[in-house]
Symmetry: C2
Subunit: 234 residues, 2 copies
């Protein structure tokens, strides 16, 4: 659970808010002004009861008998997600993946501003991407402070991740999105979200193995949120 003011929002709910927001924005750009919990739920890949329950943690945004105003609900969720204020973002580790993430064009539209690219490799330092020059990690502390970075995407090799993460945290950063496949050991007040591509593939491999064991042996799949044709964020 995550408490905001007097309100407590389950972690699982928070993880679904971006889905609702995206579905609402899609509706908006289709010119749809009103939607129901079942319509929005279908677009988001969840059940309508779950959608209504999730929204109920944030407040009461709909009209009984009518549904939700798409624009109002989008603003409310966006506000709940703290997307009103700009979040200044640095990418640390500008290899293949870091570079691809730097070139992602959706940051601004979502309230994020990429303000620094940092790497330890002299061959990478000095290159530019997304209008920024890659700077040397020797100057990490200085750069994070000067640019007011509050969030970091960590895309270094696994071996470097822990040490770099500690330096980042020492600069006061408390939100990290890590692509390094290691369990970072950091203070409890630091929020780390991890994306592990190889791990995701292994989970898929497990499902494939279960499927094969099933036909011929006796296997089935049951109640796994990751197993439905559609499902929210890992």
């Amino acid at each position: 659970m995550i408490e905001i003011g007097e309100v407590t929002v389950p972690a699982a709910t928070v993880a679904r808010l971006p889905f609702y927001l995206r579905a609402l924005r899609d509706l908006l750009s289709d010119g749809v002004t009103t939607t129901s919990s079942s319509g929005l739920a279908e677009r988001s890949g969840v059940g309508s009861a779950q959608l209504r329950k999730d929204l109920s943690y944030l407040g009461s945004f709909g009209t009984r008998g009518v549904g939700y105003d798409v624009e109002t609900l989008a603003s409310s969720i966006s506000a709940a997600l703290g997307l009103g204020s700009e979040h200044r973002l640095a990418i640390v580790g500008v290899g293949n993946l870091g570079n691809a993430l730097a070139n992602y064009s959706g940051y601004a539209a979502r309230g994020f501003r990429l303000v620094a690219l940092i790497d330890a490799d002299p061959d990478v330092v000095g290159r530019s991407a997304a209008g920024l020059e890659v700077e040397h990690s020797d100057r990490l502390e200085e750069i994070l402070a000067a640019r007011g970075v509050s969030m970091v995407i960590l895309a270094t090799p696994g071996a470097a991740a822990q040490a770099v993460a500690e330096r980042i945290v020492a600069c006061g950063v408390r939100e990290i999105l890590s692509f390094s496949p290691v369990a970072l050991q950091l203070p409890d007040d630091v929020v780390v979200r991890s994306v592990d591509v190889a791990g995701e593939l292994q989970i898929l491999a497990f499902h494939a193995a279960a499927r094969h064991a099933q036909s011929g042996d006796a296997v089935g799949v049951d109640g796994d949120p990751a197993v439905a044709g559609v499902q929210p964020s890992a």
Copy 2:
């Protein structure tokens, strides 16, 4: 839950197996031959009770009073994940991100073999990455069949994702790792894992907002697996 043979494995457990496997491989390369549930749990970023419970779904691999043989346990988890057989992988959508994923060097070591790169953009078709040439999506069906693809990484723009996913599923592929931020509507027997970078950043933004509301307003964080300094896969 996911049933394998007579055994049922909770989805949450499956999602942690890759962490244990990685930690075990790290131990192996450090020359460590034996570990305890608490030692391995710490490396994996989970509690020791959870680790033992997770392993108990797969079987009994340790020795009371002693611990686990690192190599044996790694093999057992690897087998459970179905990494014994090779999984043939295609990347559909070879933009920034798809290209970065193509250049990822860890597939082979993890039992995956990248056998095709497919894109719809004539400017991208014909380029090469990771020793493969990007082929046109007009020939998607033909390519997936000819190469025996069983798993696909989908990294197309959101607008194309649903249609392309349907074609992929029509080819018999049942495991998809999607980087497109849309809720794919696919048959229930298709397993979709989704990675949404912008969504992850939004979740971090929510935590940042909660933190700020906390100091000065009254907010706290409570029991969120994503909130601990270390935590498993999104």
